[in-house]
């Protein structure tokens, strides 16, 4: 079943699929970041796939994975991200990922769509035009990772207060924070 799904997705997207994988029945496809809105629109409007429901979208910071992969000379073999770069030379791999979880209400099948975001270009086109459900998740990714979404109607911090200086879910941010306090003001 997952093979059918992968075939259908690659038929629909063609060369836009950079990489694809399957783990425990969850199918993931990776697409170029600049064309994410087009990809999701195609997946939504394709009559066979009909991924018409955005379940969630969120960011992942791969900093620790790359550091771990760079340190020991031999790493346990695994699929996907960690074992992807055999040689340490060359430009560093994109640090962040944004993952879109899609669901087809008619066939009840799910798909993960992944884009990679390098640290020097922290922006992904917004998909709020396709699904309004992306409004808060994109704000949250901006809040937690600092990734911007051009085209978002109202990109502000969501969970932390406005003056908060860092992006807490990045891997280089300590769990207990850096002592940020919200200042008491009687406005």
């Amino acid at each position: 079943m997952t093979m059918d799904l992968l075939k259908g997705v690659s038929n629909c997207l063609g060369p836009l699929v950079v990489a694809s994988g399957e783990f425990r029945g969850d199918v993931t496809v990776e697409v170029p970041k600049a064309r994410i809105a087009e990809v999701l629109a195609r997946l939504r409007d394709d009559p066979n796939l009909a991924y018409d429901f955005l379940v969630d979208l969120f960011g992942v910071d791969n900093l620790d994975l790359y550091e771990k992969a760079a340190k020991p000379k031999k790493k346990t073999e695994g699929e996907g991200d960690a074992a992807e770069e055999p040689k340490p030379a060359g430009p560093p791999p994109p640090r962040f990922e944004v993952i879109y979880l899609l669901l087809s209400l008619s066939t009840n099948r799910r798909l993960h769509v992944k884009v990679r975001v390098p640290e020097d270009d922290l922006s992904v086109p917004s998909v709020t035009g396709l699904w309004k459900a992306a409004t808060w998740p994109e704000r949250e990714v901006y809040d937690m990772f600092g990734i911007r979404f051009p085209g978002h109607p109202d990109l502000r911090r969501l969970l932390m207060w406005d003056e908060f200086p860092a992006h807490p879910l990045r891997k280089d941010y300590p769990l207990e924070g850096r002592g940020e306090e919200r200042i008491l003001r009687y406005e």
């Binding site: 932390m160 207060w161 300590p174 769990l175 207990e176 919200r182 003001r185």
Partner: protein, 165 residues
């Protein structure tokens, strides 16, 4: 006592009378932010019925409240609001820190959680537990009552009268 009431007289110390009045009507400000708020609801509702102890009217306005029951986690984003609510309450006021998060931050030792509300406001009774049972909250209320009994509410006023201020 009955012998005196017949003639319309009751002798007591004024301080004790004031304390008795305060003690028997500790109107709570239920400030439930998280899980403990649900247990606080149970304590206020049928079954545990906090109204038995004079906490008859949950006062959602800080101006009319006597006891601030802080039930739940206070995040750093919430800290200024908690401080402001405390400042808005009229004296005399007491604070119950309900639950591990309010006492010490609990399991959430993270960047966004305040590690105990006593960093921002004074606390009279701590109730540990995650969350504490409603009985724990009732016991804390009884402790507040004991504390009220030991106070001298008029001491300042009388001494200022004596000194002629």
């Amino acid at each position: 006592m009955e012998a005196y009431t017949g003639s319309g007289w009751l002798l007591t110390r004024l301080e004790q009378l004031v304390n008795w009045g305060r003690k028997r009507s500790p109107w709570p400000l239920p400030y439930g932010t998280a899980c403990c708020g649900i247990e606080m609801m149970c304590a206020l509702a049928s079954g545990y019925d906090m109204a038995r102890f004079g906490a008859e009217r949950p006062s959602f306005s800080p101006r009319q409240a006597d006891v601030l029951i802080e039930a739940g986690t206070i995040t750093k984003k919430m800290t200024p609001i908690l401080r402001r609510i405390y400042d808005q309450m009229a004296e005399p006021k007491w604070v119950i820190a309900m639950g591990a998060c309010a006492c010490s931050g609990g399991v959430f030792r993270t960047y966004s959680t305040l590690q105990g509300i006593d960093h921002v406001i004074p606390v009279d009774v701590y109730v540990p537990g995650c969350p504490p049972r409603p009985e724990g909250l009732l016991f804390a209320l009884l402790k507040i009552m004991d504390k009220i009994d030991m106070e001298h509410p008029l001491r300042g006023e009388i001494s200022s009268l004596v000194e002629g201020k």
